[in-house]
Symmetry: C2
Subunit: 102 residues, 2 copies
Amino acid sequence: MEVKKIENKCPFTEAMELLSGKWTLSIVNTLMTGTMRFNELERAVTGINTRMLARELKALEANGVVYRTAYATVPPTVEYALTEKGRSLGPVIQVIQGWAVT
Amino acid sequence: MEVKKIENKCPFTEAMELLSGKWTLSIVNTLMTGTMRFNELERAVTGINTRMLARELKALEANGVVYRTAYATVPPTVEYALTEKGRSLGPVIQVIQGWAVT
């Protein structure tokens, strides 16, 4: 599965490649509330399916926006949380939310 | 060719569907400088090809972000410009540009 890893281009183009997944910012926005497990995330992001969520999370992890913690429980549990880079998307999300309701 | 027309969902999801094309905001950003013809736009948006640009412009037009003016010259000329809704994306683009360079 080809992960959307970003080569270095102009910063804006690079940022848009990272942010332009249909679900990317909805996932980041949902994780702003805190660490979540895969199925919690799947329930919270309306309309997303398991395959899309797995693909988006893999790309977000590859691009340093999300980090993943696996616990050796039985069955194993995996949690996702925002990195500092992920948290720094707060203002981007807020301005899009503001634009969305005007 | 299926145009990405948005049904009404939560505003943020709706906005993300509109904005989440890989080239969408790069095209809007380029049109912030003013009205442009198709081939000017194609040259200005690095990496885009004719098919992608035509598809993105059709979606942007369908969603009221861009308007298109055709002139009955020989050969006919077509110009694209931002609507008010398109111009209102200025702050979104600026905050992404800011995030991109941090």
